[in-house]
């Protein structure tokens, strides 16, 4: 590809970089036991939550930041972050009509019309602005089916027993540095509970938005699927443009009991930093893990990662139940100065467990894209199987791709396959398209969409179209 094309390719605009002028209730910068207490107090939490937070905070103090990822970034000053920011609301919201119109405008700009499109499409939406859930649609209709879909803060209040039982059961606060931090200060997030023998009557969806400068977003999501139940959940994320970096350290925990299935999809488009200098952008340091606790349970992670200055996450599955299934389908597109170190961990514990990892990494501009994954077959996991495929695509001459698979097998009956490939979008391919009258932009979109097809096919139908458009958007005004 010519340098001129790369130049254009690396000059695309971030559409979601606006800030909304909304009165916020912001905690002072810095982290201390007082701040942790303040967060808990603001949220009117019961004692067990405060205890959970404080234990996590005290543990966090003993930890040091992990350094093993490929990502390079200046040291984060954890005392220079607002750990709590919420849109000021005078009364508690009972319905969408009471939501601040400025906020609704924001979500409209983001292409998330809470009322119209999604409702017509039959998707329930939970919108989270900075740290607080501002609107959850379709709550009542879901409740009729027995499905609980609400902000985490509401779950703590209304379903304390379930929260107490499962919060931290998949990702304990001792798990890692950022999980400990999140456990201490998490503000809100989505809570989903699907009772026995229940199929969620619609797709559930959360939209996350960071608005306040120098604030961190620490949301916490918990999804529990009881026996013979099913849910499909999608999260989308955006943030305004700021010169300073913002930390996003979320924790997502999934629990699937016997014959339960959870499909978790992510379309991540956080602000990636200035295209020319790499300044600003989100540090997306997230811990996502699912526990296939029950027999024949299944957890699927599908992620489309296109944003963030740095993405550092490994959605994982603990395959405990006999014949349980873990899947990970990922497309990670990095451009400009973005860095991604992402992949999956499949820990096989029960017998006859099966896992699949399909990872597609696309590196454009001067970005670096790393697949890092672990497939571990424990002694107890008789006849476990894994199939892993890691494909990397390089665009231009300055981008980088790495593949770092770790495989640990402790039971000789296991069957594992690993395939990997690296390809480059060549000048010749682009010329071939152009000679047939197809412009570079459309050519790139077709090549990348073809490269990612096996992953897009795994997204809920309407979102696979969105994902395709998002990737095209990322390359739009950029080439041709």
């Amino acid at each position: 590809m010519s340098s001129e094309m790369i130049e254009k390719l690396t000059n695309q605009e971030y559409k979601f970089g606006f800030q909304t002028d909304i009165e916020s209730d912001v905690a002072p910068k810095g982290l201390s036991e007082d701040i942790v207490r303040l967060i808990s107090e603001r949220k009117n939490e019961p004692q067990f939550m405060l205890d959970f937070r404080l234990k996590a905070y005290r543990h966090w103090l003993k930890l040091t930041e992990p350094k093993w990822s490929k990502a390079r970034y200046p040291k984060i000053d954890f005392q220079n972050i607002h750990y709590y920011a919420a849109p000021k609301t005078k009364v508690k919201l009972d319905s969408l009509d009471q939501v601040d119109p400025e906020l609704l405008k924001t979500f409209e700009k983001l292409g998330i019309p809470l009322f119209e499109q999604k409702q017509l499409a039959g998707v329930a939406v939970d919108a989270i602005f900075d740290s607080v859930s501002v609107a959850t649609t379709y709550k009542e209709k879901l409740l009729e089916a027995g499905v609980v879909f609400c902000p985490m803060s509401e779950a703590v209040e209304k379903y304390p027993e379930i929260v107490k039982k499962y919060l931290g059961s998949v990702v304990p606060f001792t798990d890692n540095y950022y999980a400990a931090l999140n456990s201490a200060v998490f503000s809100d997030g989505s809570f989903v509970y699907i009772p026995k023998n229940t199929i969620s009557p619609m797709e559930l969806s959360s939209y996350f938005r960071i608005n306040t400068e120098e604030s961190g977003q620490f949301e916490r999501t918990l999804i529990v699927c009881e026996e013979n139940s099913y849910v499909s959940y999608l999260e989308g994320c955006t943030a305004p443009k700021f010169d300073t970096n913002q930390l996003h350290a979320a924790v997502v925990e999934l629990v699937a009991m016997d014959n339960a299935e959870i499909k978790y999809s992510t379309v991540q488009n956080w602000y990636a930093g200035d295209p020319k200098t790499g300044k600003g952008g989100i540090y997306n340091f997230v811990t996502k893990r699912g526990k296939c606790a029950g027999k024949k349970s299944k957890i699927s992670w599908t992620q489309i990662e296109t944003g963030s200055a740095i993405t550092w996450k490994y959605p994982s599955c603990l395959l405990i139940g006999e014949e349980s299934v873990g899947e990970f389908y990922s497309v990670a597109l990095t451009n400009h100065f973005q860095q991604a170190d992402t992949g999956s961990k499949m820990i096989h514990i029960g017998p006859n467990t099966v896992s699949t990892i399909i990872s597609k990494g696309i590196s454009v501009g001067e970005s670096e894209n790393t697949y890092r994954g672990l497939v571990q077959i424990n002694k107890s996991a008789k006849n476990a199987r894994n199939f892993t495929q890691c494909d990397s695509m390089l665009v231009g001459h300055k981008s980088k791709a790495n593949t770092l698979p770790y495989i640990i097998v402790k039971n000789a009956s296991a069957k594992l396959e690993h395939e990997a490939s690296t390809s480059k979008v060549s000048d010749d391919q682009l010329f071939y398209f152009r000679q047939r009258g197809i412009g570079v932009e459309d050519a790139m979109a077709a090549i990348i969409s073809g490269f990612c097809k096996s992953v897009f096919d795994k997204l809920p139908t309407e979102f696979s179209v969105e994902a395709n458009q998002l990737l095209s958007l990322k390359l739009e005004n950029s080439v041709g």
Partner: protein
């Protein structure tokens, strides 16, 4: 229709075309022959707009319009088609979808309605028969894992779908067995019309047994050193190129 005047082009400071002039009128078939390295493929690439080559002098016009200022896609949309000598593989991109993109790009350029997948399928089926390709050909990725012969037939299929004004076939005959050669040649012959023109770049006379050219040009050291009718090709077959090619001056 296509006029090339005093065309000079180079790649990385190496002069390859040294003043080519050629006029192609509607309905004509021109064969360009010549030894290896004489600039045949470069001529094809320069006309179609490959940015690796730099045009240092001369002009190329299509129906009076200077095409050298156009980007490759505009040239293609204006009616220039290159059947590549080595068609590139594009994994993951469906052949039928690729063809539809190209077809619709052209329709749009001409202000005509674009075809949806169903409508396009009907167009494609008739063209597949022309080059004796089975329908499952359309469902494979563009040129991916195709044999050499399949790739060449795919080029002719694309030519049939896009119906260009000027088709340049760059050694489409090389690497083909006699049956594939016949299929390709028959496809090309069916696409001949009084409104379009074809430039055949070839090493061998045998293609010209299947596709009768109106003119034969011999290219050597980036210049046309001799032009004639189809009997020139037979003469070249018998005598080789040496008698036409003067040694390169220091």
């Amino acid at each position: 229709m296509l006029t090339i005047h005093n065309l000079h082009a180079q790649i990385d400071e190496n002069k390859i075309l040294n003043g080519i002039s050629l006029t192609v009128k509607p309905g004509e078939v021109h064969a360009i022959m010549g030894p290896n390295g004489s600039g045949k493929s470069t001529l094809a690439k320069v006309i179609s707009g490959d940015s690796h080559y730099e045009v240092t002098d001369g002009e190329v016009t299509l129906e009076g319009k200077n095409i050298l200022d156009m980007d490759p896609e505009t040239r293609a949309l204006s009616g220039i088609f290159l059947a590549f000598q080595y068609p590139v593989e594009i994994p993951g991109v469906n052949n039928a979808e690729f063809l539809r993109m190209a077809y619709n790009a052209k329709q749009k350029f001409q202000g005509k309605p674009e075809a949806d997948p169903m409508q396009f399928d009907a167009i494609l089926q008739s063209k597949l028969e022309l080059v004796e390709m089975s329908p499952d050909f359309a469902d494979r990725a563009v040129n991916f894992g195709f044999s050499g012969g399949e790739k060449k037939r795919n080029e002719i299929l694309q030519m049939a779908v896009l119906n260009p004004k000027i088709a340049i076939l760059d050694e489409t005959d090389s690497g083909l067995d006699i049956d594939a050669l016949r299929i390709v040649a028959e496809g090309v012959n069916q696409l001949r019309s009084p409104d379009n023109a074809i430039i055949l770049i070839t090493h061998y006379q045998r293609l010209l047994n299947f596709i009768q050219p109106d003119f034969v040009h011999v290219l050597a050291n980036g210049q046309i050193v001799k032009s004639g009718d189809k009997s020139l090709a037979l003469e070249l077959e018998a005598r080789g190129y040496d008698w036409l090619v003067s040694p390169v001056n220091g």
